[in-house]
Symmetry: C2
Subunit: 149 residues, 2 copies
DNA sequence: AGGAAGTATATGTAGCTACAAATATATTTG
DNA sequence: CAAATATATTTGTAGCTACATATACTTCCT
């Protein structure tokens, strides 16, 4: 569906202005797609993102700061986000021995199990992205990177 | 900056998975850009979006519903959003005579004045989008529309 | 006409976000 | 080495979002 129809706007000043809107709209469209799949599991997009970052670290620990650097949405309260994950038994938090200011965050077995269960989401989203080819996706990635400079 | 560097992830499974993340990241990047400019005026992106929709209607009235259909981020509580705009004296809300369920929303002179003052934001953003050409923006718009199907 | 169903908007509420400030520990510097 | 500065995380708070439900009016049907 053309962006003109999505927001019922007949025309735009120029392609740049249209892109500004299209980009925000499509970003939300993707987030909502993922949120919809996570909802039944009581996870938010951010919590899911953190879990995947933790899994990516293998057996190692990660600090709060380095989690926030790796997040898609670099929010300010990763602290409380991790609280939630610990409360749910999906992650653990211990003080780092070298630097007692830092926290060592790690995913639990239960967290890994949940993520495994959720891996179908990636497949699902790929299916919902079937309108474009791998080559077009590459082209989009290049243009988006270029846009941000 | 490449998305790999933005979120410190060395590689992705494939271009589609990368696009999923790149798209959410870039959407937030654009929103944040706008939010930054609006902040000094105490406006949120959504309030700004509604004001622009109201201005787009010229002298006519718009219903709450049709505002929400035109919003970039179709949130569920446009009602309270309009409360805020009315409280600030930027819009007015009156009961529609044909259908007393509907509200007639209209931008005030003050609202128009503020929007005029804010029009520099569009220019500013265009400047921040200077990394890509009009042709590339068109290409992006086409690909984004295609992505959403 | 009178009740059922539909539509437009508003409201209650829990949880989330952004921003600023606080706390605790580490490092640098005179 | 003590004070100043820097870094890592947490916490307080106001305002925002999503979802479910309520309210008020209109239309449809018999």
């Amino acid at each position: 569906m053309r962006i003109e129809d999505e927001i019922k706007q007949k025309q735009f000043e120029d392609e740049i202005q249209k892109l500004m809107i299209n980009q925000m709209f499509t970003g939300k469209w993707v987030s909502d797609l993922i949120a919809k799949h996570l909802k039944p599991y009581g996870l938010t997009n951010q919590q899911y993102n953190v879990l995947r970052i933790l899994r990516g670290q293998g057996n190692g620990f990660v600090s709060v700061n380095s989690i926030s650097e790796r997040m898609i949405d670099k929010m300010s309260n990763v602290s409380r986000l991790i609280d939630k994950l610990c409360l749910k038994g999906l992650a653990t938090r211990t003080v780092n021995h070298q630097d007692r200011r830092q926290m060592d965050i790690k995913i639990t077995e239960e967290g890994l199990k949940l993520l495994k269960e959720l891996d179908y989401i990636q497949k699902q989203i790929k299916a919902e992205f079937s309108n474009i080819s791998e080559a077009e996706a590459r082209q989009l990635n290049e243009l988006l990177d270029k846009l941000r400079g």
